[in-house]
């Protein structure tokens, strides 16, 4: 109770105290409130700032990642484009090169080739030169040939003339027409006359039956023999002499027959047989075919290109040293004319003693 009593005692004090305190509290409230607000605001500020910075950090991460991603994407795009462009340029360049070559080739081949044309024209000029030169040469040659022939003909004519005029040749006693004594030198014709032989009097041309036209009655008349004057003196008539001189040779039958008559006749027969033969291979009957079998020569011996070794090969050993000086064995004796050489022969290989 005491405590109650004490409390009661102190109530006043407590009341006072309460008032005081209230007052003090009222007095300090503003101040404290402000302080509390300050503290709170600071704290809240810190808290929010912390949160914001947290958010920022997060945003940065997101942005960083996004930006990196898109930038990479963009870069890749750029690279792709650049690569594509590079490639395109390269291809274009190569295409230009190909087109260049092809167009050059095409144009040169089908449209116009300057250098080929130039070369062609140069070659043509050269060819023309050559043709001109050759033609010149040919013409020159032909001209010379013609001149030569003309000169020859002229010469021939002069020669004929000289032959015809040979009787005008001057003699020792009397100068000829072409050898005027009033001139220092004889005429050219005179010199020519000296060299040529006079023309021989021709005999009558022989009758050729081939080119003579058949005529109605003229051909039937025989040509008369030439009339000769009878020469003075004890001569036989000229005709007789002539006849005797031109009498053909009359050989005996033995002489007239050719020495090769037989061979010729055989040859002639053979030729005729060969000419008239219709079938070269004779027809052989079927029976006895074994008899009709022809001998087939060996290829070696038959061909004109003999194999030399065939038949010439020796497989026997021969001692040449031993055979020295030994006469070969003779299988054939020389023939002897029995009757005129009879008794004058020895049989020593038919040698005449």
């Amino acid at each position: 109770m005491a405590r109650l009593v004490k409390l009661y005692e102190q109530i006043e004090h407590i009341k006072e105290q309460y008032f005081i305190r209230n007052r003090n509290a009222e007095e300090n409230r503003q101040h404290e409130n402000a302080a509390a607000v300050k503290i709170q605001s600071w704290f809240r500020g810190c808290q929010v700032r912390l949160y914001l910075s947290y958010l920022h950090r997060n945003a940065t991460v997101i942005q960083k990642t996004w930006r990196a991603f898109s930038a990479r994407q963009y870069f890749r795009q750029r690279v792709k484009t650049a690569y594509f462009l590079m490639k395109m340029n390269f291809y274009d360049k190569m295409a230009v090169k190909i087109q260049q070559r092809w167009r050059g080739y095409y144009v040169r081949k089908y449209v116009h080739n300057y250098y080929a044309r130039k070369r062609y024209l140069e070659a043509l000029t050269k060819k023309n030169e050559q043709v001109r030169r050759e033609l010149e040469e040919i013409a020159e040659h032909q001209k010379k040939e013609r001149e030569r022939i003309a000169i020859e003909r002229e010469e021939q004519e002069k020669y004929m003339q000289a032959q015809r005029l040979h009787f005008l040749l001057s003699t020792k006693q009397r100068p000829g027409v072409f050898n005027s004594p009033f001139r220092p030198e004889p005429d050219e014709m005179e010199l020519r006359l000296r060299t040529v032989k006079p023309l021989r009097t021709r005999s009558a041309p022989k009758e050729t039956a081939t080119n003579q036209q058949p005529s109605g009655f003229l051909s039937s008349i025989e040509r008369l023999p030439p009339i000769h004057k009878t020469p003075q003196g004890p001569f036989r008539p000229a005709a007789e002499v002539q006849r005797q001189r031109q009498r053909p040779l009359e050989p005996s039958l033995r002489v007239a027959t050719s020495i090769t008559a037989l061979e010729e006749a055989r040859e002639e027969l053979r030729q005729r047989e060969w000419r008239t033969r219709l079938i070269d291979q004779p027809f052989l009957p079927f029976s006895k075919t074994h008899r009709n079998k022809e001998y087939e020569p060996l290829l070696h011996t038959h061909s004109p290109y003999h194999q030399k070794a065939y038949g010439a090969k020796h497989f026997r050993e021969e001692n040449r040293a031993q055979l020295q000086g030994k006469q070969p064995f003779k299988t054939v004796f020389t023939t002897c004319h029995i009757f005129d050489k009879f008794g004058r022969l020895y049989s020593n290989a038919g040698k005449i003693v």
Partner: protein, 507 residues
């Protein structure tokens, strides 16, 4: 009266007939006697003698008839009307070779005058007989028969076709191969006459293998044979490309060029004709001949010969040049243009000049280079004078104008164009000015030269209708020069200056 006396009368008669026929045939060789003979009724007298018992009289009568008939076509007609031909044709098959020769001679003499007479010869069945005598052994008969066939065939296509139908061509080709030169000549000429009419006939000749034989004979020394051979080849090749190629395939080409130097001018003419006929077909054939050096040879030939024989050579150059610019250039580098210029100056006949002008036009119309080459040889004034000459024939004028025009349209060689400014009529001047207006804007040296040589002055003096092409060209030229210079060279400028002096008031 013994038997001898009786026979003597006959002999006398025979002798007199013989004498008559021989005298007539002698007289018929002279043209002045022919009319007298005709008036004396020689035809009616000769006709019975053709049937005489003595062969010599027969053939002499035929000879006389042939000579008379060859003299003029009246007599030839008289032979036809006198019904002599059937007799001849009949005896052509029957008689001996001398008579055959004479009969073929008469047929030839009749046939040569006109197509109608030749047709009359054909109608009486002469062709078969002639073809049969082509198979004769005697070369003289063959020659006469081939000759008669040739005279028949040369008139027109249908007659030639008749000859071909009679089967003459293979025999003629055989005749070519005979050793006798005269026979070769005549058969080559006959083949030429046959093949000249149409491609079909030429093809028939080719089909019998004539070309190979003809080609072989191109190197014979005989000039007359070569004439006919080249003429035949030319006539064959003129028709079509195929035939020309066949001729070329006979490989005659570099070898026959030597014949262009032959002394005989007809050989040269015929070979150049052959080359012309071959080149005119295709560029390839022309090229072949150019490559063989044919153009150079032809140009030399033009230099060697005078007159009409040049014509085929000139035309050949024209044909070659017409095919392509390359070939035209080949003609130019073969020095063809100066030679053609010489021909143009030397020749007097209009058709030769026309051909030369045409050939020059063909050479010059390809490119400026060609035109320049042509212009350099100074042919343009000559062409212009030919065009303006009133004595030139119409054809020559047309050809010269065409050539001039085609060359001018390509020509950029101004020194050659300038003389034309002063002489040319307006229709040519147009082209000249056109060329100037094309060249001057791009060539300063030429501009200067154009002024100093007085060309500009001349251009100002030209009176062109406003709005015409000529005026446009003049304006284009004036545009290349400063205005004062144009005004200075305009006509009437000095008066204008004087007027200005009068009007000028000193301050």
């Amino acid at each position: 009266m013994s038997q001898r006396h009786v026979l003597q009368v006959f002999e006398q008669y025979q002798k007199e007939r013989m004498k008559f026929v021989q005298t007539v045939s002698e007289l018929a060789t002279r043209p002045q006697n022919v009319e007298t003979l005709q008036n004396a009724g020689v035809m009616s007298l000769l006709r019975p003698l053709l049937l005489d018992a003595v062969p010599t009289i027969q053939q002499t009568a035929a000879l006389a008839l042939g000579r008379l008939a060859s003299y003029n076509d009246d007599l030839a007609e008289a032979v036809v009307k006198g019904d002599i031909l059937p007799q001849l044709v009949y005896s052509l098959a029957e008689q001996n070779r001398f008579y055959k020769k004479a009969a073929a001679f008469v047929l030839r003499a009749v046939a040569k005058h006109s197509p109608e007479l030749a047709q009359a010869v054909v109608d009486c069945g002469a062709l078969d007989a002639l073809v049969v005598s082509l198979e004769e052994f005697d070369p003289g008969v063959k020659e006469a028969a081939a000759w008669a066939l040739g005279y028949i065939a040369r008139h027109n296509g249908s007659l030639a076709q008749a000859v071909v139908d009679a089967g003459a061509v293979p025999l003629l080709v055989l005749c070519i191969q005979e050793p006798e030169i005269a026979l070769k000549r005549i058969s080559a000429s006959t083949l030429s006459d046959i093949s000249k009419h149409s491609p079909e006939l030429a093809q028939t000749v080719v089909d019998t293998g004539a070309i190979a034989h003809l080609a072989q004979m191109t190197l014979y020394p005989d000039a007359k044979l070569k004439r006919h051979v080249f003429s035949a080849l030319g006539q064959i090749s003129k028709h079509s490309v195929d035939l020309a190629e066949m001729v070329v395939e006979a490989e005659i080409f570099p070898a026959v060029l030597a014949c262009l130097k032959d002394p005989d001018e007809y050989v040269r003419k015929n070979i150049s004709t052959l080359m012309r006929e071959i080149t005119k077909h295709t560029p390839e054939l022309s090229q072949m001949i150019v490559n063989a050096g044919g153009v150079a040879a032809v140009i030399d030939y033009l230099g060697d010969s005078r007159g009409n024989v040049r014509l085929p050579g000139i035309m050949m150059l024209g044909y070659v040049a017409a095919h392509s610019e390359n070939l035209a250039m080949a003609v130019i580098v073969s020095k063809g243009v100066p030679q053609l210029a010489i021909c143009l100056a030397e020749e007097t006949e209009d058709h030769m000049k026309a051909a030369t002008a045409w050939a020059l036009g063909q050479i010059g119309h390809h490119t400026p280079e060609h035109a320049r080459a042509v212009a350099m040889s100074n042919v343009l004034p000559k062409l212009l004078s030919l065009y303006l000459d009133t004595h030139s024939s119409e054809d020559l004028q047309v050809k010269a104008k065409k050539a001039l025009k085609s060359i001018l349209q390509k020509c950029t060689y101004l020194p050659a164009l300038e003389p034309l400014l002063y002489e040319a009529p307006s229709n040519v001047l147009k082209h000249v000015i056109c060329q100037f207006s094309k060249v001057l804007p791009h060539d300063s040296k030429a501009r200067k030269l154009f002024v100093t040589s007085g060309g500009l002055k001349k251009v100002q003096e030209i009176k062109a209708e406003p709005g015409s092409a000529l005026q446009e060209y003049i304006n284009a030229i004036n545009a290349c020069y400063p205005e004062e210079i144009v005004r200075y060279y305009s006509p009437g400028y000095s008066e204008a200056l004087l007027e200005r002096i009068e009007n000028y008031q000193p301050v």
